[in-house]
Subunit: 137 residues, 4 copies
């Protein structure tokens, strides 16, 4: 299973003494970019081909706080890929404690020239990769 | 109904040319702090009294992008206050277009000395305010 | 003198219990955009005309910390406008205490199609405004 | 010479299509924490000992833009350590192009119970390390 690792930074803390909850949304994106890269889908090339993949929804459950210096491991698993939309699920584990700190989901579509498109039409190779990967799950 | 207004900033844009989706989580917090203030509950005093109110979950639906310079109006309505947990619902409307851009929910509890507490016990006055406000809805 | 006002947000605090120093760079940008707007130079229209005005250098002196909920007033004064480069100076005053918390400088140029250009050539009207304003100072 | 490496993230881009200039201040902090760690000075332990080391000034020169996905290598060298204040110098090189993208300086002091202190008194071991390191330079 794909995992992305990230050290919690000082500039990400807030005055409660823990990582501010908005940062996990950025960590999800970092893990997503790394995951897509790992299945051969470079976000950078996709955008250079004029295809964008915006976030249409996110949901996060904060279970335990993370502190400055903690290393968090984020697994990413694809789900519900329809050729037009896909969903990714994230489990963030604090490696310092071994405990799950946050679980999350993000949902995405594909846009070309500002319109929602079927990935099968605009990037068939990428479509094939995501389809296989979602089926494995 | 309470509304908080916010101009979308240049430093909040990303290379898609729109506000990056992580910023809406910060806007929810700004609107929440202003809303709680409007019902007589100062976040700052609450923390000075040793009571924290962390976020335990959030969920956002991104409907339309917001651009640099757009003014966004965010309404906040309380829901499901139990004395231990509360939920806030947010509707963000782009005043430049009149369209709803994002809807969201956040869920919170209260902590004192690192333990979940009933607000009724630690801050009875605030409990009364939130209870009334949640009932109005 | 132009002043931009800004409330320090919870999500801008760090675990020292004060506003994290990186946020002042964003506040400078917000004040700069508002200042340029006040002299008739919309950053948004400028970019729509294909002219960018990137930051080429910044310098900040942190004198006193700012806390969550404090209101900071930021004055912006132009200096050293040459038609190709300009400099802006910022004084940030904490309105809760009346004390200067931070002073800063930013330096900028103008780019069109990725090349440094004289503003006089690409946006003569804006050039005239900045020149007058820098001379007043 | 100490170097810290960092991949430029999507959430750090702005609508110019490059990394927003405020993020380099966060990268300086990440490199600083890693550098101090490399000389045996854990920022986390220092704060647990009640010693803070706030930023009292920064200065950055932006020479070339960095794009999403670029890997940036940041060298950190100490300078001007006086026992009360120290300065760090940063050179950021874009590994994708081999070019220096940004140079920067940060200045710091040490605080205990809100007062500026001599590191020699409060953390003599750390003082010895920084002194040696600044002399090497």
């Amino acid at each position: 299973m794909f995992a992305y690792e990230r050290t919690a930074q000082y500039h990400e803390t807030d005055q409660m003494g823990v990582i501010h909850h908005s940062n996990y949304v950025k960590w999800m994106e970092e893990a997503r970019v790394a995951f897509l890269d790992s299945v051969g889908l470079s976000y950078r090339s996709m955008e250079e081909d004029g295809v964008l993949s915006p976030v249409i929804g996110i949901s996060l459950e904060y279970k335990r706080p993370v502190r400055f210096g903690d290393v968090v491991s984020i697994t990413v698993t694809p789900a519900n890929y329809t050729g037009v939309r896909y969903e990714l699920r994230y489990t963030m584990t604090n490696r310092s404690t071994g405990e799950v700190c946050t679980t999350a989901v993000s949902r995405h579509c594909f846009l070309k020239n500002g319109r929602i498109v079927s990935l099968k039409k605009v990037l068939p190779e990428t479509d094939r990769i995501l389809m296989q990967d979602a089926m494995k799950d």
